[in-house]
Assembly symmetry: C2
Homo-oligomer: 410 residues x 2
């Protein structure tokens, strides 16, 4: 009398017909050292014969190839991996102040990457042509033609309306509201574009290739100019009803705290974001605090990254500011842990590059202020992919798009 304890069966969104083919493809993709047909059959719950047929299709379509397998007691298993020669993809991470491009093959091996400054406040009519031009000149330089690119993932720092391929009501992207970003880019580049939130893509990147590989319930926190979170439930991005799930940056921490860009008071972002850290430093210097930061020519232009650099070199004020940010972040994460009960929290973004100086107070406060059952289950680590998390998530999504489209056709 074994209880099932399932809830409700779902009507699958895609065709049920090739479900196992797609599932096999993903198992092959996310097995770093290859996977054999028999392992596939175990994971999928199919017979070896069925897997032979499915893999045969995938190989014939040029999506998968055989490599050297592991030895065991009996016949040596043949390892399967994605065929990297199938095509190329690009991941683009558009941040508030920077844009990052990553060119990769279907195995997610990075071929090249570049970064450039960009001001997202200038709006889509300025930024998108700029991104388009950068892409073209960069690819030309590498000797790669746009027609070789089979899909492009683009991350932006705002809530995504997936079906429409645009952002809606973004707190830090004035002028982008409801602009048809995906349509514009697909027209410019002539290939499928998948639009995503930068924190979501960060989560996806770390889940696929980084600090949260294969983890069930993953949260990625991007601490940059602002603060955002990406939620991943069993490898699926959770966006919520209007695409703004994970907006942890605008969670209230101090009821009467400093004013935030969103209009409220005491938001996490206004207390622990990069902009807040920089402004706190400037204010402290003006108030006469001793710090190595005051040696800089212009005090007004001190950025969060300057504070981070100084903290690393042992500057007391900077270290104090970073730890303070960690304290606030830990408080917010404690609430997130109680609500979402994640397996892992990965902290990335520019500010996170200080490492344990930020993470230690985060871990301490998060543990202290959350329920024991929940805090014991979660590990809080820093991002493995560093500044590339989001771009790699965009790459993962682009590869996903390409592979599954090809698998459907075959």
């Amino acid at each position: 009398m074994r209880s099932l304890d399932t809830t409700f069966w779902q009507v699958p969104k895609a065709s049920v017909k090739n479900l196992n083919k797609h599932a096999a493809l993903d198992l092959i993709r996310f097995s770093p050292s290859g996977i054999s047909r028999i392992e596939l059959s175990r994971e999928l719950g199919l017979t070896r014969a069925a897997v032979t047929a499915i893999v045969g299709d995938l190989i014939k379509a040029g999506l998968v190839r055989e490599t050297n397998g592991q030895s065991s007691r009996g016949r040596r298993a043949i390892a399967l991996e994605i065929n990297p020669q199938g095509g190329l993809v690009v991941g683009v991470d558009i941040g508030a102040t920077h844009v990052t491009f990553v060119l990769a093959d279907y195995l997610a091996h990075v071929i090249d990457e570049i970064e450039a400054s960009l001001d997202i406040f200038e709006g889509p009519q300025v930024c998108l042509p700029f991104v388009d031009q950068m892409m073209r000149s960069w690819l030309e330089q590498l000797g790669v033609k746009l027609s070789q690119i089979t899909a492009i993932g683009v991350g932006v720092p705002g809530p995504i309306v997936t079906d429409a391929g645009m952002v809606s009501g973004p707190p830090i992207m004035p002028g982008w509201d409801l602009f048809p970003i995906r349509e514009w880019l697909e027209k410019a580049w002539g290939c499928p574009v998948t639009l995503g939130n930068d924190a979501e893509f960060g989560a996806l990147g770390e889940w696929a290739f980084g600090a949260g590989r294969g983890v069930d319930n993953l949260v990625y926190i991007k601490v940059g100019t602002g603060i955002g979170a990406g939620l991943l439930i069993e490898g699926q991005i959770y966006r919520g009803t209007t695409g703004c799930a994970g907006e942890i940056g605008h969670v209230t921490i101090e009821e009467d705290g400093p004013l935030c860009t969103c209009g409220n008071r005491g938001c996490l972002e206004a207390l622990a974001g990069g902009r807040a850290i920089a402004q706190k430093a400037i204010r402290a210097i003006k108030a006469g605090t001793r710090t190595t930061l005051s040696e800089r020519p212009s005090i007004e232009t001190i950025s969060a990254m300057d504070v981070i650099a100084a903290a690393r070199k042992g500057d007391h004020l900077s270290q104090k500011l970073v730890q303070e940010a960690g304290y606030y972040l830990g408080t917010a994460l404690a609430n997130l842990i109680n609500l979402f009960n994640p397996t892992r929290i990965v902290i990335g973004g520019g500010v996170a590059q200080v490492g344990d100086l930020l993470l230690e107070p985060v871990r301490k406060v998060a543990k202290q202020r959350s329920l024991k059952v929940a805090s014991q289950a979660v590990t809080i680590t820093s991002a493995v992919l560093g500044r590339r998390s989001s771009a790699m998530g965009a790459v993962a999504q682009a590869i996903s798009l390409s592979l599954h489209q090809l698998a459907e056709a075959s």
Copy 2:
């Protein structure tokens, strides 16, 4: 060039073989006024012929029956509904101070219900035999034999380890930690038991039959002695890694607030839970505040329900306390809205029975302190099923278990 924008295909947990049969069954279950074969074929993406075969199986197995359909231009469609004569189920809601039993058929029509007092602090060795005895005498009184019950859903106020059928580290259930609740009950009753969290089941109940019918992303808040939340994503309960997702009661609201039963300070539960409301009332009366509550014989035994009742009759102190609770709850919900971006929040539990007196401040604060994109998407309402939300969720889960087990066998 239509972009897919899916993420990753999942390996389905149950057998893929009968997936459409199960999906059809659920579509029939959750269509209040029946559904025709042709509507099923549209929803499932199958042909009419295939649906004929599937429905034929379900009818032959006695799970589904035909009723009168709607007229249209052409041939009258035959409406399908679950066959209520297939069997009976029971939903049990074990709360901190009460236990509720609901007997229902497969159409979730309530046949009878009873409620009794119970002190969960007495532990499983006392409570479970008591629940067992109550079930037996109640069923005997109704002339129903235990063997007629095909499944029983049981809700308890603690984090669930689904596979094991027990609770782990429950904040308000000392002595129950890791006790094999499901095993004990299955042995006692001789039928499959599905164990769930009371807030989860509340969410399920309101999603299936109440204020959140069919809603994509639903949050149910149970404001009773404590405060808990149940999260439903597309009809699926989200439990998190260790089953304690939605523990909103222990989210920090005031850093140096009153001590909570969980050991932390300033938890939502310690500020807005039923216990907190009652204690605040007692303290105010002792301090000399004028209130109708002081007419009661014993001040120390004033409960949250007394305060609720007084507030409804216009008592000023009681109304103030309820509104205060609403204010705190609204703050917590604002954070939940930013993180989870739900479509609907349903507020239930004993304290919620005051209605708008609590809901108005909740709505106001929640809207004010959350992002516009998120707050515009969500509606906050009170539970339709009232005190029965959780028990009806347990019924829904029990029916689910029975139907899908029978469908698998047929």
